[in-house]
Structure formats: C-alpha cells, structure tokens
Amino acid sequence: MKFLIALKNTTDESKNILEIGCKIAEGFSADLTICYIGKQSRALIEGDVNLARQTLSEWNIHHPGLEVLEWAFNILKEKGFAPDSEFNIENLVEEKGRIRMVLPKTTNYQIRLVLREGDLLSELNNEVKHGEFDIAIMGFPRRKRMTHKMAQFLDTSIFFVKNFKPSWDYKILLCVDDSRATKRAVILSTRISKQFDADVISVTVSKTSFFGKGYRNAHTWAERYLKRGKIPFESKLLSGNPVDVFVDEAGEDHIIIMGKAKGNEILKFIFGSKPIHTAQRANCPVLMVN
C-alpha cells in the first residue's frame, strides 16, 4: 500500500500527524511519502523570488519546505522508519512539477520526500494522482469548505488528523451503513485496531427507529468480520441524525472511520454528505475510506 502524509510546518501538530501516519503505515507495511506543499508566489514576482532563492541556496539557506522535509526525515529516522542516510540537498530530483529526494530503500517499504509549490488542493490532487495513494494523511483544514473540497476531490481515502494526542488511548468508531465503501472501512478498521490495540465500536444510525434491510445486513456483516478478526468490539444500532450521533459518540477520544459517500457529485458539491459533515464537525481524527 502507499500512504501520503502532507505536512505544512514543524509544529507539534505536524509531529502528531507524522506519528499517527507512521503508526498506521507500519501496520500495513506501506510505502510512505512525505509531501510539503508551499504557497506559490504571485506570478508577477515569481521570477524575482526564484532569483533570490538561487542566491539563498548558495548560502545554504534552502526553501522552507526542504527544512520541513528534513525535520520530518529526522523524525522518521529516529523512529526507524527512514533509512540511516543523510538528508542531502544534492539528491533532489526535479520531475513533473515536483521536487523529490532520492533515498535508498533499506526496509521492505519505501520512504519518499516530495516538495511541491502551488494551490494546495490542486497540488495534493496531482500528487495523489501521481502516486496512486491508498490513504492521504493530513492536518485538519482551517476552513470548512476546504475540508469539503478535499473530501470530494481527492480520489483516495483521507485521514484528517484533528485534535490528536499521542498519549491518549483511542478507540475506533466504525460508522456502518449500506454504502459500498463501508466494507473497505470495516477491513481498514480491523487493521488499524490491531495496530493501535484499540477497541472498535461499530455504529449504525438510522434517522428513524426502523432499520432497513441494507442497514441490518451491513451491520451484521461488520459484526461477523470483526468477530472473525478477533477484534474486541461493541456494536450499536442507534436512531437520530447520523452526523450528530457520530460526532457525539466519538467525542475526542475516538478515531472515526467511515466510508466516503458515493452519491451524486453535484449534490455533494452543493450540500455536502454525511462523511463530509462528520469530518467538519468532529473533534477527533477522521478517516474517510474511498
């Protein structure tokens, strides 16, 4: 599998994103790409900025993004994820609108460091398409609309790391419904549950007290799968507004895992969807499975 971790700075929040990303990737023995996307200067002054960057690099003052990548690389190295080699600027390769650092492959998975510049959504989309990632892991966007856009337009599973505390014992809140992505969400939940040694709470929510056949079947299938995987779990059938229920049940100490909605894209663009609203309102990490 291939995971993408998008970082924007060297704060504690980024460190948490890196830690949770590494832990999940370890469980899947996944290739890990760390990507920094810098803000592009206005086109009118871009040439001047590039000229200044050239002289800066002669003084060993590099693009701030490279400093973020070096910081991430050192953390990965400390944790034993990255190869025991040096972060060498001379190993940078420019390709297809991105800059990549060539790193030796010493473990059974590959670490990649990528620098991009431009519009965040567009560059992330390009990187996801380029790398064909299974999961993109990133911080929670400040603007709700950006969460919406990322959830809708990035054609991969997305893990929004929000309010994550490394010292906490997280449980997994698995949101089960009759959508196609639910099965993949259940499968991913079992793997992540094993990796984090976390209990799973499987929740199926209906707006009324009546649960249709699709919901009941999905609920039973999830129970069976979790049981077969020997995952400690609790199963709930609840009534109410699904988004409210998911957010309330999750609180701050759960990782929400749910399938991405597959409804009409235009309606989703205008009104959003259950997973999008849940991601926007939750106070904990949310994994939306594609």
């Binding site: 206005r42 000229l51 200044a52 050239q54 701030p64 235009i266």
Partner: protein
Amino acid sequence: MRLPNDLIRNLLFWAQQKRWLIIIAFLGVVMYQLPYPDGISIAGYRTLILCIIVISLIITEPVPLPAVALLIAVLEVVFHIASPVEVANSYMNDSVFFIMGSLMMAVAIVHQGLDTRLALGIIRLTGNKVKNIVLGFTCVSALLSSFIGEHTVVAMMLPVGLSLVRNCGKNKPIPNLTALILFSIAYGSTVGSIGTPSGGARNAIMLEYWRAITDSGLTLTYFQWIIMAYPMVIIGMLSTTFLLQMAFKPEFNRMDTAIRRLKIQVAHKGKITGNEFLTILIFVIVFLCWIFLNEQYGLGIIAIGGAFLYMATGLVEWKQVSQNTNWGVILLFAGTISLGVQMKNTGTALWIGNSLMSLFSPLIDQFTMIPYILNIFLTMLLSNIMSSSGTVAVLGPITLSMGGDPAYMGMTTAISSAFGYFSAIAAPACMIIYSSGLVKMTDFLKAGWRMAIMSTITLLLLYKFYWPLIIGFTNFK
C-alpha cells in the same frame, strides 16, 4: 444519458479551480451586451471591459500571466479597438526593452557572487550594534535598489540578512530582531526602488505612459527622475530605520556572535576577482549611459546593450539568462502598455478619470490635493493586492487622466506603487521574507501602517513644496 460520477467530479474540480475565469468570462459577456454609458464611445466601452477583465485576471490568476498578455492582443483586435498592425506596434517599445534589459542584467549581476562582498562591506560599516546594522541594511538596500533594481538587491541582500539571523546562536527565539533585519532589507529596497527609472519596471512603464499617453508627450530623463524622486528615497530610508525599530524592539542590542560567524563565512572570498570587477565596470558604464545618453539612445537600448556586454564578455551565459529571466512578465507588461495606449486613444482613461473625479468634485474645488490623495490611496490599495509593477501598468493611464498635472500625477503613481507595505505579495522581497516562515502576516501590518503614513505624508509634502520648486530645473514640461 447519465454522465459517470468520475467525469462529473473532474468537471466540478476544473470548474472550482477555474471559477474566477468562468466568473470573469461571464461578466465580460454580460458587460459586452449592456448598452454603453454616456460620454464614452463603443471602442472606449469595449476597452473598459477589456481593462476590467485584465485587472481581474491579474489579481485572481486563473490563467498564466503570459496568456493574459496574449488575450489583450486578441481582444484589442476582436473588439475593434485597434487594427492588428497598431496592436503589434504598441507591444514593443523602449520601456519593454528597458524591462527586458534590466531583468537580464540582474541575472548577470546576481550570478557573480557579489553578495559576499556586500556582506563584508556592510559589516565593516556598521559594526556589531543592532541599530547600526539595521541602518546599514536599509540604506545599502535602498541606495543599491535605486540603480540596479529591487529584485537584484533583494537577491543579494537577503542571504546576508538571513545568515545573520541564523548565526545569532541564541537559544531563545528572536522574532523581533529577525523581523527587524528582514524588514530593513525588504522595505529598504522597496523605498529605494523609486529613486531612478532603473529601480523597477513600474518606473519604466510610467515613462512610456508619459510619452505615449499625455497630450504633450511628456519626457523625463534619468537624471531628472533622480532629482524628482531621490529626496523621497533619502527621507524614506532614514525614517524606515526609525519606524522599524519602533515596531520591532530587538531582543538584544549587539550581535557579536552573528557578526563573527558571518565574517568567517565570507572571509574566504579574498580579493576582488576580475569577473567581479568587470561586472561592476559594465554596470557603471550602463549607468553613466543612462544618465548622459538616454535622450539620444533611450533607456531600453542602453539596458539591452548592457545585457549584451555581460553575455559578450562571458560573465553570464545565454542559458542562465534564458532560464532566469521572467519572459512572461515582460510579455505581460508589453500587453498592459498596449492596453494603456488604447485606453488613451479610445478615451476610456479620460472617462474613468472624469467619473472618479466627479464623485469628489465639491471637495476638489476646495482642496487641490484631493486627486493626488485619491491617486495615492488607489495605487497603494491595488499594489497591496496585485504587486507594484502590475499596478502602474493598469492604473497609470487612469491616474494620468484624473485631472491633476500629468507630470505630478504620474510621479505620484510611480512612487506610491512602492507603498505595498501591508502584504507579502506586493514585492519580491516581502514575498521571500514571508515564505521563509520567519515573519508573520501580522508583522507586515505592524510595520506597514507606520510606513504607509510616513510615505504618504512625505510624498504629499514633496508634491506641495519640493516639486514646484524644482520643476523648472528638471525641464519636465
């Protein structure tokens, strides 16, 4: 027929990425269909539409800038604003040569490694005291950027400033000292860039507008520009030093360790090399030609002559020049100058100027400074949104038609386009110090409002008292 979800999603993604292009195109079509207002011709109204489209495209950037330049040419012909031959002629002039030559010379100068020489020079002059270092950085940046252009100075000075900050070696964070050093370079070079026509592309654009747009075809020599603008540079660089130290109180007053480390870092350079000497010599020749021969040969021809000399002597290779010159910007400025000329020819600039002034006509009768204040405000606002050079390119024809003296109005526009103190996007220096992550957007506001007030007052004082005194001497009219 139902479209697959993936296709719809891709279409939606494209639409939201290009939303500004769609909105601008839609508004353009709507405006084109509307009846044109009184006092303006059909061609004038269409030029107005084109002007709005161009400004919107430059601000929102939904398409690459060179594409905007191409669009200007296409729409000028399609809208029957000018004939294809006229459009082609208006795309190339001495100012475009000047911008092109200056950008090419900047590449040559920057690649000689003169930055280390500068570092040594500044350290020798300023010593270890923070206030002296700030004064040194501001003054050297301002004086140099007057002549060799803001972007060249920024490229050479920023490594020195950033190295100094990094070499401080203190364990506790030093945000104020960092901001102080970096802003002294950024604002210093911005303030200095108004001093001569070669300080920035915007000055060259204004020279072209004076020549092509004003009725009498105003001209101003390199030296005359210096006489008009340099007091602003001198007052600006001194007050910048003072205001920055008010805005950012440094964490300590001496930088002994940083200076020592910087000296070690640049000490290996030894004596001045032949290439460095030749680089400086060629620039001095170009500079003297700008002063003494510009009426005969034009600033642009001299600038590209300088670029030729740098390449002919082997100081820079064509590949380096080609890779590092922003050809798109040159094309865009060519396009906007062409649009500016058409705004004059079709009466659009005059119509916008009169419409703006009619809003303030009761005030203008009592206060003759109102058009100038409005000019400064408009230019400052747009340069903080769009960048300084782009502002003069699109606003120049309008401000020249706003009713004041075109000579004073043009100078006011060119100078106040450097007042982009509030945002990181107005000037390359501001963008680089912001993207280094060492200064915050709020720092721009913290220092910017002081700088804006100081600059506006100084400019108005120059207009009121200094320019009338020296206008005969400059032979401006």
